[in-house]
Symmetry: C2
Subunit: 405 residues, 2 copies
């Protein structure tokens, strides 16, 4: 338990921690032996919001989830499979995604539009619907076990990703939990990043939508492993109101506290994904201050963590500030060479458009850690931003150059 | 000698092939034993144009070249060193670049503004001006030997890069030669891509400027090795008129032929750079047809060759069309999933938003070659474009993760 401020506390837990939520995972046979079908179920319909991939090739399950959410903006369950992304699968793929939704809804005895669908795995292959149907029956009997859902949604990930926070809203304790999968922003053959957030807070729909969009931009959208976007990316938040609080709106005095909690959950999951990037050994955080505005700060931060040369330098524990300058110099943001300052682990490496003397030994030791922060001051304005990535290693090549199996 | 059309013939040669140009290279001691200082010299002042890096951290020699060109738009020589980029070197760096220009001008007995300066190598280190001065004296006595200039400008490149074409303009034979260096679009620690083009054609200044900018956009700007732009990138073209042709303007009937020649030279050099990308074993060309316009076609083509996952798939000889879809899907251009067709080595892999049956064996054999073409049809309009890159291999990590030496 980590006390972050008067209002917000990090607790052990995940998507099934908020009141009224359960989460399950089973093995239905899409993968050889690992769990491959999971679900989050709320005891009451939950006000929900989602953000989807911007890819032109949006996968079938995302279309079905959009159709469900369009009805009333509430969901009671989400069903997720791994192994097969059900992307680039034409009309049959769309039919299958609807069948997956309707089958699970019927099993739960609820309206189909109360169910969202999500898939992750290989692109261009159809789901084995017999296995999915059998899996849906299994899900009905499966107990809500901690970690089973998180396991069922993994593909090339090496660890499960969950987080949970508690905060007090008008005297009521509310909980926000999250789960995610993803080992890169893009693996078009292993498509890709999913995030699920649950909360027992009562939240007004439009406020939840706005908050999710705003927070996604500074959390999930600020991570990069290999620079692109998959066909299946989705972040879904469900708020079932079981905490009994007064419904949160953007005018509620505790709205900033709730948003802060939601942001912490999304940020934790985003960082976990970057840290677990394919082949990665280190999490890299770029912090940019003094940009013209926050947007430009975020663009530069993402340029830094997205640079193959910065990533390989961090892997090689090389305090190669020239590569950081390269990444900053290349961005469309306002940058004045003479005003830029670059810091690594507290040491200033570059200032007044000239290299600064620094201890290479200290820098090398700092780069040997598993969390690296690169800080940049631009002195253009008051914008700040952060982004997260990982180092680029031989294992990234190994994972991605080996033939599909 | 390759006859391309009635007007244009590819010949053996380089920057010293056009009449009135000589090119030299010497070892002045910035590198341990390899040539590290070179120059192109014209017997007459040449109408010249240049394009420069868009980086916010433009290196000192580029500022000096801009100052020279600003005077009258003519140059008679360019001096280039490798090993030290003279970038991020503050006031002293700028002073050194001027000294390099003025020293060489005085050695040649011409006005300083007739000399351009270019550097490539490590960022953030000052030039050893004693060595440069001694090198300038050596250049005075050095003979014009084929290949010496091309060698002197290399850094991590594994091969020299030159090309040459002949064409007939109003009855006169004119020659266009080119040399380049660069093993990646960016190596901020090895900054970076330089291109030099010479021609004995007489060309009007504004027409030459316009043509260089237009052609750079579809040649040098359409290659990527690791996705970024260095502090020292520059392409310079010098036209000395020694062929004796009527001065070429945009209205001249042979202007399109000259532009075609200039484009062939730039494209050859650009492809040579992509092919020699750090760690690369293959050249990848992406051809996009049927885009809304040429700009969008170029954007998508560059997305494809820039994708780490496409690059690793090509290295692994894996016909992983899902990664091509990922790269296309991610672009801001107009794309309709149902209309997209993806081809590899003549086989259609993807169509009607569904995978197409294809021979994996044939695809694997095709990918085992050293020039790979990925073709995409969008059916949105009549725009077409191309881009070039290389595969991403273990050696890229090895080269870039090893500590600076």
């Amino acid at each position: 338990m980590i006390q972050l401020s008067e209002e917000i506390t990090k607790i052990k837990g995940g998507v099934s921690s908020p009141k009224g939520f359960e989460a399950k995972g089973v093995h239905c046979g899409l993968r050889y032996s690992k769990k491959d079908l999971g679900a989050i179920i709320s005891e009451a319909p939950a006000v929900s919001a989602a953000v989807y991939t911007q890819s032109h090739f949006q996968a079938a399950p995302l279309k079905v989830t959009q159709a469900s959410l369009k009805k009333e903006g509430v969901l009671q369950a989400v069903i997720v499979n791994s192994a097969i992304a059900n992307a680039c699968t034409g009309d049959q793929g769309l039919k299958d995604a609807y069948e997956m939704r309707d089958g699970f809804a019927s099993q739960l005895g609820i309206e189909p539009e109360l169910v969202a669908v999500s898939s992750t795995g290989v692109i261009g292959e159809l789901l084995d619907m017999k296995k999915i149907q059998a899996g849906i029956e299994q899900l009905g009997q499966a107990p809500s076990v901690s970690g089973a859902f998180e396991e069922a949604i993994l593909t090339t990930d090496t660890v499960t990703k969950q987080t949970c926070y508690e905060l007090v809203i008008g005297g009521d304790i509310i909980t926000i939990g999250g789960a995610a999968k993803g080992s890169g922003m893009i693996h078009p053959n292993m498509a890709t990043m999913l995030g699920f957030v649950t909360t027992d807070a009562a939240v007004e729909e439009q406020a939840l939508k706005n908050a999710l969009r705003e927070i996604t931009d500074v959390s999930f959208n600020q991570i990069t492993v290999d620079g692109e976007t998959s066909t299946n990316d989705m972040v879904l938040v469900m708020a079932n109101g079981c905490a009994g609080n007064d419904c949160l709106t953007e005018q509620h005095p505790d709205w900033p506290a709730f948003k802060k909690g939601l942001k912490l959950v999304c940020e934790d999951l985003a960082k976990d994904i970057a840290r677990d990037g394919e082949g990665a050994t280190k999490l890299i955080e770029a912090r940019v201050e003094g940009a013209k505005n926050n947007l430009e700060a975020n663009i530069i931060a993402k340029k830094i963590v997205g640079s193959s040369l910065v990533k390989t330098a961090v892997y090689g524990t090389d305090a190669n500030w020239g590569r950081i300058i390269g990444a900053i110099g290349h961005s469309a943001a306002s940058v004045t060479a003479e005003q830029v300052e670059v810091f690594l682990g507290g040491q200033c490496l570059f200032k007044h458009n000239e290299p600064q003397p620094f201890s290479e030994t200290d820098a090398k030791e700092y780069l040997s850690g598993d969390e690296i922060t690169i800080a940049v001051r631009l002195q253009e304005g008051s914008g700040s931003g952060r982004a997260w990535g990982c180092d680029l290693t031989y294992d990234y090549i190994k994972i991605n150059a080996s033939y599909r199996t």
